[in-house]
């Protein structure tokens, strides 16, 4: 899984491009590096995050990687073939993941006013607000909202045969094993994946006051993919309205096939049509003066095939929301806080009805210090409370150093 030479190479590339900017301007880079008369733009970022040991796996993004213990670097390249066509790619290297082409797509802007954009390839998520600002410099804190990071006990490639199978995995999303489908232990998924992007095509119209985007992709919110694994795609859309510069309101929805073909091959008797994920989200951002506040709510449900008794009849639903605020105390210093809840619906197991996953609450607060333009030091405290699992309370500290150009 680890690709150290690749990771080191990617970090070196970020630093090299950054250094190029330094050399050409004789000062710290404040602009992206450009070539070919501005037709080729290169930007990058690198971050080192180190935090407390997390025995409750609250901050893990997969079985191996904690969001508060990782080194990450990314290089983004935009090649403008013409005023209306450009190619974008982002190569990202990360401890535990290795080097991955995070994004690669073509962007076509057929209208002169840029009121219409079409993007095709491995594209940014349309759903929600956080996924498009998941870059360390756009996140005032170190952790991500739980909707976008917390590992639930749901897997696309393996499903529980009974409700009891599911309830046994409650609060253990970092390593889940089910009898149907892929029998190997693997981490569950977050409600909305922020660490990987899906593949497909999207259309956006109408910024800046009104913006609507629609995408069709081969994966799903929880399981973005490069290639299809279940013969069904996903439609996702978002409408955003900016009545003024201080306020942005957004509504998102998505529905797609979630369960992989492996499951159907393992249990051909499974009822059809019970393999989807659907979600509805609302988000808001308000800012004024030194304040910035954001909030988001996502209602999500997975349907898995009802197989053996006690059967999982109802959708596995989660409700999650967060509110965060940032206040700039000084040109070099800000403070931020985020309150974050995830709650789950009940299912009937042999021992009675209970929530199918353990509810979890996180409060994160911290400060960011701008050491110089493009160099940010963040530190935060993350406190977690969970209704189940081996570890129910966990208080963590983390520090992150971030360079970007």
């Amino acid at each position: 899984m680890h690709s150290r030479p690749g990771l080191i190479g990617a970090i070196a590339a970020v630093l090299w491009f950054g250094a190029s900017g330094v050399a050409s301007a004789q000062h710290w880079p404040t602009e992206p590096v450009t070539f070919a008369g501005g037709r080729l733009l290169v930007g990058g970022d690198a971050s080192v995050t180190y935090g407390s040991d997390d025995p409750g796996w609250f901050t893990y993004t997969d079985y191996e990687t904690s969001a508060i213990r990782r080194v990450r670097a990314g290089v983004t390249v935009e090649a403008r073939a013409s005023d209306r066509v450009s190619f974008l790619t982002e190569i990202r290297a990360e401890t535990g993941v290795g080097v991955t082409p995070y994004a690669w797509y073509v962007r076509i802007s057929p209208l002169a006013g840029r009121l219409l954009d079409i993007q095709a390839g491995r594209i940014p998520p349309v759903f929600g607000a956080f996924t498009r600002r998941a870059y360390p410099q756009d996140n005032p804190l170190i952790g991500s909202p739980q909707t976008y990071q917390y590992l639930t006990s749901v897997r696309p490639d393996a499903v529980p045969a009974t409700a009891d199978d599911l309830l046994r995995m409650k609060g253990r999303g970092w390593l889940v094993r089910y009898p149907v489908g892929d029998a190997t232990a693997h981490n569950g998924v977050a409600t909305v994946a922020a660490e990987r992007w899906d593949t497909g095509v999207q259309v956006r119209i109408g910024p800046p006051v009104f913006e609507a985007a629609l995408a069709y992709t081969v994966g799903s919110l929880s399981d973005p993919r490069v290639t299809d694994n279940n013969g069904g795609g996903q439609f996702a859309g978002r409408v955003a309205w900016r009545p003024g510069p201080a306020l942005t309101l957004g509504v998102s929805a998505a529905r797609g096939t979630f369960v992989a073909d492996d499951v159907r091959e393992a249990r051909p008797d499974a009822p059809s049509g019970r393999d989807t994920q659907q979600a509805l989200g609302v988000d808001a951002e308000v800012s004024w003066g030194r304040w910035l506040a954001r909030g988001e709510y996502v209602a999500n449900s997975w349907r898995v095939p009802p197989l053996d008794a006690p059967r999982i009849v109802d959708p596995l639903t989660s409700h999650a929301g967060y509110v965060e605020a940032r206040y700039r105390l000084h040109p070099r210093l800000y403070a931020a806080i985020r309150g974050d809840l995830m709650r789950f619906t009940t299912i009937a197991g042999s021992a009675g009805a209970e929530t199918w996953e353990a509810g979890v609450t996180r409060v994160e607060y911290g400060v960011g210090i701008t050491l110089r333009r493009g160099l940010l030091l963040k530190t935060s405290v993350l406190s977690h409370w969970r209704d189940g699992g081996r570890v129910t309370t966990d208080h963590l500290g983390a520090v992150q150093l971030l360079f970007w150009f």
Partner: protein, 232 residues
């Protein structure tokens, strides 16, 4: 007595450009000579193309960012060593740096110490002007179209200005302790009038660096000295 004897290697000179400007313009000048004032005029040919500051390539965008007009990036020509009496500045003035089409206009502002600069927002979006420069550190917070906030600059030096929301927005404010400076126009022309007779060092600053220097002499009879620079 000259305040700055710069015989540094170019790299050192460039890296220290902000300090150079600040030091060169601190309030201590050579004795004022008797005679007629002169004018230094000429052109600065900036070979490096003037181009719009590009936004970082953002792969997370759902579409392309609006295209912005080309940003004019002038040079500033100034006397590295100012004559005595140069620091008797008139009443502190006001200047403006607009925020328009997601750019600071003008991109370079040259002012004297004590000047208050207004930062109006002419865009439909919020802007958040700030600077981390040692000469003047400030953060004006977010404000909308039609509103303006101001900052007074009381120390000489170079202030680099940014927008906290739009990372591609940047500008420079050069704060001088004397009045012997000029910002080049779109044709690269400049003129510094009212210079007392004497020998001076003329410096050209462009985009954060002192790019060239040259010795010039205003004779006792005054007159116009023409000199031109080519920046590569």
């Amino acid at each position: 007595m000259p305040m700055i004897r710069r015989r540094w290697p170019a790299t050192v000179r460039a890296a220290a450009s902000a300090a150079v400007v600040a030091a060169a313009l601190s309030p201590a000048g050579r004795p004022l000579a008797a005679g007629a004032d002169g004018v230094i005029k000429g052109t600065v040919d900036i070979r490096r193309s003037q181009q719009t500051t590009e936004a970082r390539p953002a792969s997370a965008g759902l579409g392309a960012a609006p295209r912005r007009p080309v940003e004019f990036r002038p040079a500033v020509v100034y006397l590295d060593t100012a004559p005595g009496g140069a620091f008797e500045l008139p009443e502190p003035g006001r200047a403006a740096m607009d925020q328009r089409d997601q750019a600071f206009v003008p991109h370079v502002l040259a002012i004297t110490v004590g000047t208050t600069v207004d930062f109006p927002n002419s865009d439909l979006t919020f802007h958040n002007v700030f600077s981390l420069s040692r000469t003047r550190t400030f953060d004006l917070g977010r404000y909308s179209r039609g509103r303006s906030k101001s900052v007074r600059f009381d120390r000489p030096g170079v202030v680099q200005v940014f927008c906290d929301i739009h990372s591609h927005m940047s500008a420079y404010i050069l704060v001088f302790a004397h009045r012997y400076f000029a910002v080049t126009d779109k044709g690269g022309a400049f003129a510094i009038p009212g210079i007392p007779p004497g020998s001076y060092t003329l410096a050209v600053w462009h985009e954060g660096e002192v790019r060239d220097t040259r010795a010039v002499t205003i004779p006792e009879s005054g007159g116009t000295i023409e000199t031109s620079f080519a920046l590569r």
